[in-house]
C-alpha cells in the first residue's frame, strides 16, 4: 500500500476554468442538444454547441422518395410546426414543376399555417416559462395554460386531417382535405377564446418583475449579427430587421390579407417575446380574414392521393420559402425530370437560429443560458434534419 501523500495545489486564484456539459439530455433543450460550456465562476466564457443527435439525413431520404411520398415525411423535420414544413416542400415542388394551386387551397394553407403558428407559439411560451422556473407564473402555471390552449388547436387539426401532430395535409398542387362541415365556426370560437387568453398571459408575465429581470437585456443579438448569421423569424425581427417571408416574397395569397409585421429593436429575449405575442394576434386576424373570404372551388389542381401515380417535375431547380413559426423555412430542389428529386436541401429556421448561440451566450450566467435558449425556440428535428 502506498502511504505517500500527494499534495494537490487547488489554486483558488480566480483563473480556473470549468468545463460543463449541458445536455444532451438537459430538460430545457426539449430535444437532444449538448452545449459544452467553459465557465469562469458562474459566467460562461465559451460555448461549443454539439448538434446532430436527431439527424436522419432528410436530404438523402428526400432523394429516395417520390414527390407524392415525401410531403408526409417533410412534416417530421419541424414536428412542432408540421404544417409549415410540409408547405415548404410542396411549394418547392410546385415552383420547379410550375404547378398551379387553386385559390381555395391557398386559403386553406394560410388558415392551417396560421393556426400552426399559434399552436407553436403556445408551446414555445409555455416551455420557455417553465424553463425559467418557479418565479414565473407559479412554476408550471403558464406551461399548463399554454398546453391547454394548444390542445384546442390540435383538436381543430384532428377534425381537419385526423392527426394531431404530423398532418400530411399538403400535397403537391393543393391540399388533401377540405374543411368538414361546421369547422369554420369552431375555428372562430377557438381564436376568439385564444385572443382573450393572450391578454391573460401578457398580464401574468409583464407584471412579473422576475420575468422582466430575466429577459430584458439578456441575450442581445445585434442587427448586424442577426443578418450575418442568418437568424430568421422572431429573432431577426426582434433585432430590428423587418424581414418576414410573407411580406418579402408573398406566397399562397398572403397578399390578400391585411396584417402587421411586428419589429422590435432591443434584440434581447424580451424583444423576441414581444414579437411573438404580437404575432399571436396577427395570426388570429389573418385566420378571420381567410375564413371570411374562403373561396369556393377545387382544393387541388391534381387528383387525390390515391390515384396520384407519380408527380412529374421537369428538369430544373428552384428555392421556395415560407414563414414558419420559427422563421424562414425553405427547400432548394433540383429535378432531373425523374419521379424523385435529384437534390433536396432543407434550409431550416432552427439551424441558423441556434447557430447564433455561441455568439450571444458568452458573458452571461449559466441560468441565463436557459432563458436565451428558450427565447430562440429551437426544434431539434429541424436543426438536425
Amino acid at each position: 500500500m502506498n502511504t505517500q501523500t500527494q499534495v494537490v495545489e487547488l489554486g483558488y486564484g480566480g483563473n480556473e476554468r470549468l468545463m460543463l456539459n449541458m445536455g444532451p439530455q438537459h430538460p430545457s433543450s426539449h430535444g437532444v442538444f449538448r452545449m459544452i460550456l467553459t465557465l469562469a465562476g458562474e459566467t460562461v466564457v465559451a460555448v461549443d454547441a454539439v448538434i446532430g443527435y436527431l439527424h436522419r439525413c432528410h436530404e438523402k431520404l428526400g432523394e429516395t422518395l417520390t414527390y407524392a411520398q415525401y410531403p408526409s415525411i417533410a412534416s417530421k423535420t419541424d414536428y412542432v410546426a408540421a404544417m409549415t414544413a410540409e408547405l415548404a416542400y410542396v411549394s418547392a415542388v410546385e415552383r420547379v414543376g410550375k404547378i398551379e394551386v387553386p385559390k381555395r387551397a391557398q386559403y386553406l394553407r394560410v388558415i392551417a399555417a396560421e393556426l400552426q403558428r399559434i399552436a407553436s407559439h403556445c408551446l414555445w411560451l409555455g416551455t420557455w416559462c417553465l424553463d425559467m422556473g418557479g418565479a414565473i407564473g407559479g412554476g408550471s402555471t403558464v406551461f399548463l395554460y399554454c398546453m391547454r390552449e394548444r390542445e384546442m388547436i390540435l383538436d381543430r387539426f384532428e377534425e381537419l386531417t385526423g392527426a394531431r401532430l404530423l398532418y400530411g395535409f399538403h400535397q403537391v398542387g393543393g391540399t388533401r382535405y377540405d374543411v368538414p362541415a361546421g369547422w369554420d365556426t369552431k375555428v372562430r370560437a377557438t381564436v376568439d377564446f385564444m385572443e382573450k387568453r393572450i391578454d391573460e398571459y401578457e398580464a401574468m408575465l409583464e407584471g412579473n418583475a422576475f420575468f422582466l429581470v430575466r429577459t430584458q437585456g439578456v441575450g442581445v443579438i445585434s442587427r448586424e449579427l442577426a443578418q450575418e448569421v442568418g437568424v430568421v423569424g422572431p429573432l431577426i425581427r426582434g433585432s430590428g430587421v423587418n424581414y418576414d417571408v410573407r411580406r418579402a416574397e408573398p406566397y399562397s395569397s398572403y397578399r390578400d390579407f391585411d396584417f402587421r409585421v411586428p419589429v422590435e429593436t432591443a434584440g434581447d429575449c424580451y424583444a423576441r417575446y414581444r414579437v411573438r405575442m404580437v404575432e399571436f394576434r396577427e395570426s388570429i386576424r389573418i385566420i378571420r380574414q381567410a375564413l371570411d373570404g374562403l373561396p369556393d372551388g377545387p382544393i387541388s389542381s391534381r387528383p387525390g392521393v390515391k390515384s396520384v401515380g407519380q408527380v412529374r417535375v421537369p428538369k430544373g431547380e428552384g428555392y421556395a420559402r415560407v414563414e414558419g413559426p420559427r422563421g424562414e423555412v425553405g427547400c432548394y430542389l433540383v429535378s432531373d425530370g425523374g419521379p424523385k428529386p435529384y437534390r433536396l436541401k432543407w434550409r431550416g429556421a432552427s439551424f441558423t437560429n441556434l447557430a447564433v448561440l455561441p455568439h450571444i451566450i458568452p458573458g452571461h450566467k449559466v441560468a441565463d443560458v436557459v432563458a436565451i435558449m428558450g427565447s430562440v425556440d429551437p426544434v431539434f428535428g429541424e436543426v438536425d434534419r
Partner: protein, 150 residues
C-alpha cells in the same frame, strides 16, 4: 441597389453575366474568385443577410457549391455558384465575410466532404466524428453498412 445595377456591376468587375430567374440573381464564378465576389456582394451589393450555403453533386461533372445571400432592404437576392473540378473537393471559405457561413460550411463538409480552405474550425457537425464517407455524395449508397447499427 437594384438587380439591374447589381448585374451591371458584376459584369464590369467579373466579366460574367448574372442570370435573373424567379427573383434570384445567379452568378457563376470560377473558384479563384469565390472570396473576391463574396466581398463585393457583402460590401458593395449590401448583401448582409447570409441565407444558406450548400452543394450539389453532379457526379462526373464535379461538385457545385451554392451560396444564397440577400440585401434585405433592397430585396436583392444573389445566388453565388461555383463548380469544382471533378475529383477535387476544395473551396475557399466565406467565414471571414459572414459568421453564418461557419455552421453551413461545416454541414457542407460533413455531407459532401468539401474542404473549405481557411475555415477556422472545420469538423463534422451533424454526424459523429468517426463517420466514414459523406452521405450526400451520389456514390454513397443509402444502405451503406454502419456497424454495429446496420
Amino acid at each position: 441597389m437594384t438587380a439591374a445595377d447589381a448585374s451591371t456591376r458584376i459584369r464590369e468587375r467579373f466579366g460574367v453575366e448574372a442570370v435573373m430567374a424567379d427573383g434570384v440573381l445567379s452568378v457563376v464564378l470560377p473558384r479563384e474568385r469565390w472570396q473576391e465576389f463574396g466581398r463585393v456582394a457583402r460590401e458593395e451589393l449590401g448583401c448582409a443577410y447570409f441565407n444558406w450555403l450548400s452543394a450539389v453533386d453532379w457526379k462526373d461533372q464535379g461538385l457545385e457549391v451554392l451560396c444564397r445571400v440577400e440585401n434585405l432592404d433592397a430585396r436583392l437576392v444573389v445566388m453565388m455558384r461555383t463548380r469544382l473540378v471533378a475529383g477535387e473537393a476544395r473551396c475557399p471559405t466565406l467565414t471571414h465575410l459572414w459568421r453564418g457561413a461557419d455552421w453551413m460550411e461545416r454541414e457542407c463538409y460533413d455531407m459532401f466532404g468539401i474542404v473549405f480552405e481557411g475555415h477556422p474550425d472545420l469538423r463534422r457537425i451533424l454526424l459523429s466524428e468517426g463517420w466514414e464517407g459523406h452521405p450526400l455524395r451520389k456514390d454513397y449508397a443509402v444502405d451503406t453498412p454502419f456497424t454495429p447499427y446496420r
